[in-house]
Structure formats: structure tokens, C-alpha cells
Symmetry: C2
Subunit: 352 residues, 2 copies
């Protein structure tokens, strides 16, 4: 759900993409993004597209033909990083664990030492499995071989500690509609000094004009036209970020943690097991396993029809095995957890 | 300006990007886009980005390493098509006229016959100059050598006759914030059968995942996840398109034509000349030349500060020489024309 204040912000009169007020808004977004990413980086902006465009911006700008990318994968979105890296000409080597299985960080370090990539890609918050992967040991290992680290924070930003600087993440991107409680349509991204320096050494132009970060930076800081960014979406994002700042990041994380734990206690009481081991779970997206014999589509259809509750199913190797239930942003409340547990109890009874 | 009904539509509760109601909305958008593009094409969708992402989608999908692109250019945006085509590996040959000068269509035909490109790119409505370029003779010439035609309709769609089928345009893209009266953030695109057939013969994958039209089509028609499209923005676009349909395309074009002509009469009465020759002008964007000695930035600053009116200046070879004043979508009204003329009179008096 989107915070009512965010909807209200979107109805502010539209100004042009080169209007002084537009740039003032963009500057506020830059500062607030630094806060939610927990970084002193000044290269923070919202790419004018969804989270996937943020991923494309991260990959297209730091991968060119010949770049070696070491991919850590234990879910769908990590492999999408690999797919994009190949499209942009990179060579991809993978360290794969089963979907929803934590990495062995000694193995990660060995892998990175052995492969000596220029770029390491991983997903901090894996939306396909509900798993949180640790950034610090990955960044430390990448640092040993002077590789840049790209972290997908789509489902962590605004709901869990992303901690860009403390972890040593070089490039992090996210989306507007999850932990930040806005509609989809913008992709926050932050890029550190080391990555910006590395970007200057590219041998080829970025193949995708729309997400060329040098041009985007010239637009946002130099007011040099690149595209018509949406003031409306930026109003929404600024409001969403302001709400995060008012609540306070730590308090917000704590709210997400508590509501997630209440959800887990509740589904376990219903006899369901969580897919992801304790201590590795997202606080924003919960992935209980469906009891044997219970039909995924039927449960979700019932929840949508009777309760107007959208839930997602598993896919890939997890198809039909799990539910994916968000408790994030504006929707992460004790009331919503109680509601979904009640509804889930009803749905499971109907489906079995 | 955005139509109030569009703002209202955006505050409808957000649904997910795989919700049945989301796809129903997307289907309505598909049908309505067919209407505003004047095409029987069924491959109509909104790319989840601004008009520039629509341009990137058109280029990235139909240009690959080795593709020969014949570019017709008499303004800024045509050369941007060339810039993108080169980034995606294309070889670009240009037929250039001065900014704001009409093509000689015999010369265009000769050029295309001689170069025998696979793709021809041109801008129907050149936002940098206020010029309308004729699609028909370009498409006819391209047809002779079996080249696909990509047309930039960013500033024509919803305000002037784009006429995709009648002209024989293969790929046309636009934006949401001009003739359609929505906030920026989506890029309508339509692709004809011949282009879809040609796309299947690509030798390489599309380098930009985000705008890969095959994946986008699998998402919108096959409900196969690609990215989290913004229901909010789609509500806005559907409402904007519904308003076009209610008004009727022909009536809407006529409204734009009349208000444009009233504007022209008014600025000529103020002693200003139009940059573009009569019969080649956009009805959506007017480009009067500034009188000698009048400072562009001062006039525009005054209009913004005193009247809250956003106008654009010229750039490139037209820097300081013209104003670019929109009369498009919801803003194309007799009242607005009267207002801007009054304000312009005041501003010119102050600036000289």
C-alpha cells in the first residue's frame, strides 16, 4: 500500500523537467537517499524507471565487453544480474547455491580470490526466496581483488539495514514501491567514489543511453537536458523518503522486524514452516512453505477475492511450494499482520 | 498541465504488477493506444519510462551491430536517434537539413534509394524546432528498399495526426506528458507486423534488458514477469487516453490547430516571426523567434516568476534565438493562448 501522504504529494501541480523547483526536489531526493542508503555518497539519484531499470543502470555502466563479473546466486534476481551482464558484453562466472540457501562466506571468498573478477554482483534481499544475504563478507572479499560490488537492494531499502558505507557496497539500487511505500516507477541508485573513478576508465560508451549515469549526472547536477524526468514521481519519492526520515531509519527497521516476527510466529502456529532459516530472513517479505497438498493458486485466488489481499506465489524451483507475503513500508503494521494471518487461516482451511 | 481527472485516477489504490486488474488496465491501454496512434496494430504498450525510453526501445530492438540506419535530421531529437543507434552497434548515415528547415522529399527518396538502409529514423514532431515532418514520403521511400521506419511522435501523439497505418510507419513511440495530458513517466509505443517479423531475424540479443520488446510482450500478453510496471502510471495513462477518446481524435486535433493558429496570429501581432514556415508547424509546440536584442533567459525567467508560466528556450544552433511554447493536451485552450500572449507582451516590453 502507498502512504496517503504520498498520493497527496503526487497531485501537486506538475512542473517541467528543467524548472528550478524540479531541481530543488531532485536535490532533496539526493540528500534523503543518502540517508536511507546510509551513505556519504553524493551520487544518489532516482533512475526514471522501475527497479529493473536500476539494475540495468548498475550493470550497463559498470560492465562492458570483456568485463568479468562474478555472480553470487541463490535466487532469481541474482541470475537476472548475470543475464543483463551478458547482454552488455560481460563474461559471467557463477557461484550458485540452491534458491533460499545461505552462502558459505568462506566459499564466497575463495571463489572471488580464484576468479579475480572486475565486478561482483549479488542480491542483498532476494525477492524470489525471502532471503537476506550478508553484504560485508562479500564486499571484503571483493576488496581484496579490487573488484566493484553491485548490490540489489530492491526489497531491503527502507525496511532493513542496507548500510552502503558500513558494508562497503560500491553500487546499490532499489525501487520506490517496497520499503519506501511509493508507487513503482523510480529506481533509487547510489554510486561510490571508487566506482565513479572506475567508470571513467571504460573503453566503450554505455550501450544504453537511457541509463547512462554520466548523462544522468550532467542532467541532475549540471541541468543539461537528458530526458523528461517525472516531477510527479519525484514528488512521490520525496514524500516517501521524508516519511522514512520522520520515522527514523532504526525505528523503521525495528517496526519491520517486529511485524515480520509476529507474522512468523503466526504462520508457525498455523502449522506452516518458513522456507528461509532463521537469521537469514527478510523482514519485508515472508516466505512460508505451503502445507503438502495445498494448491498455491487456489489459496492466493481466495485471498484476493475474499480479502482483497495480494500475495505472490513461488516460481522457478519454488513454484507451488511457497507463498510470498509482503510486510513492507506503509503496509508493515501489526493490524495487517493480524489480518493476513486470519485470512490465511481461512484460506488454508478452505483449500485443504 | 495535467487533467484533473488524471490526477484523480492516480490516487486509485495501487494493485500489483501481476494482479488481474492490472492486466485489465493494460489491455484497455493497448486498445486506446491503437486508437490514438490510428493503427490496427495490436502490439501497443507503454514502456515503463519516459519518452526517451521509448526511443531506446525502438532503437535497441531494431538496431544491432551491423544494422545500417539512415537518419533524416533537421533537429536535436533526430540526432539523438543516431546517437542511440551507434551505441547499439548500428552504422548511421545522415541526411541533414538545418534545424527547422523542411526536407526536400525528392532528396529524401534519392538518399534512401542510394543508401539502402535496413532502418530509417526520423522525427515527426521535432521538439527542438517546432517542426512537423511528413511521414508518408519517408515511409514510401523506405518501403522501396524494404527498410523499417522508426518515427518519433513524442510531440505529435494526441495533438496532431500521427496516422501510423495511413503513413506506413513501422515503429512509433511517444510520451505520456504532452498531447496525452498525463504526467511524464510512460512511453507509448506501437510496432507493426512487418517490424515484429524483422525483429525475429536478429542475430544478437537486445543489449538492453529493460526495453526488450519480446520480454515486454511476454509480460503484457503472457503474464510472464519482466518488471514491476506501475499501476499508478497506467491508471493515469488510461485516463488520459479515455479523455482523448471522449473528445474524439479529430476534434482534438482541430482544437490544437485552432489554438496554435490563434497563438501564431497573436505573436505575429506582437511583431515576432515564427521560426518554422507555415504548413510545417507543430500545433502542440510553437517556436516564435525572439526579437533582436531580447534576452531569452530574462524573458523566460520573468514569465516563470510573474506568471508561473514555464516556457523553454532554444538550444544548439537556436540557443537564444527562439522561445518554445507548448499548447498541448489539457493546456491547449483559447484561455491559455490569451494568457500567454498577454504575458509575453508584458515580458517583451520589460526585456527590451
Amino acid at each position: 500500500m502507498v502512504a496517503p501522504r504520498v498520493y497527496q504529494a503526487m497531485t501537486q501541480p506538475l512542473v517541467g523537467h528543467l524548472d528550478p523547483f524540479f531541481f530543488q526536489t531532485a536535490e532533496e531526493v539526493r540528500t534523503l537517499l543518502g540517508y536511507v542508503f546510509s551513505t556519504a555518497n553524493t551520487f544518489n539519484m532516482a533512475v526514471s524507471g522501475t527497479g529493473t531499470s536500476g539494475m540495468e543502470a548498475a550493470i550497463a555502466n559498470f560492465v562492458e565487453p570483456g568485463t568479468k563479473v562474478a555472480l553470487l546466486t541463490n535466487g532469481f534476481f541474482a541470475d537476472r544480474i548475470g543475464e543483463m551482464a551478458r547482454r552488455h558484453g560481460g563474461t559471467v562466472v557463477r557461484l550458485a547455491r540452491d534458491w533460499g540457501t545461505p552462502y558459505d562466506y568462506d566459499e564466497v571468498r575463495e571463489f572471488i580470490r580464484r576468479e579475480r573478477p572486475q565486478v561482483v554482483g549479488f542480491v542483498q534481499a532476494e525477492t524470489s526466496t525471502g532471503m537476506f544475504n550478508q553484504a560485508k563478507p562479500i564486499c571484503d572479499a571483493a576488496g581484496e581483488v579490487d573488484a566493484l560490488v553491485i548490490a540489489d537492494c530492491v526489497t531491503s531499502l527502507g525496511g532493513m539495514p542496507v548500510l552502503v558505507d558500513e558494508n562497503g557496497i560500491d553500487i546499490a539500487y532499489s525501487c520506490s514501491q517496497k520499503g519506501l511505500g511509493c508507487p513503482p516507477g523510480l529506481a533509487p541508485i547510489t554510486v561510490g567514489a571508487r566506482a565513479l573513478e572506475r567508470r571513467k576508465q571504460r573503453k566503450t560508451p554505455v550501450d544504453c543511453f537511457y541509463v547512462d549515469l554520466e548523462l544522468l549526472d550532467a542532467y541532475y547536477t549540471g541541468r543539461k537536458y537528458h530526458h523528461t524526468a517525472s516531477a510527479t514521481m519525484l514528488y512521490a519519492l520525496r514524500e516517501g523518503l521524508a516519511i522514512v526520515a520522520e520515522e527514523g531509519l532504526e525505528a523503521r527497521w525495528e517496526r519491520h522486524r517486529k511485524n515480520h516476527e509476529a507474522f512468523v510466529a503466526g504462520v508457525e502456529a498455523l502449522g506452516m514452516k518458513m522456507l528461509v532459516p532463521e537469521g537469514h530472513r527478510l523482514w519485508t517479505l515472508n516466505t512460508p512453505c505451503l502445507p503438502a497438498g495445498v494448491d498455491d493458486a487456489r489459496v492466493r485466488g481466495y485471498l484476493l477475492e475474499k480479502y482483497s489481499m495480494e500475495t505472490a506465489g513461488g516460481f522457478g524451483p519454488l513454484a507451488g511450494k511457497i507463498l510470498r507475503i509482503g510486510t513492507m513500508g506503509y503496509s508493515s503494521t501489526a493490524e495487517n499482520v493480524a489480518l493476513i494471518l486470519e485470512a490465511l487461516k481461512d484460506a488454508l482451511a478452505k483449500a485443504s
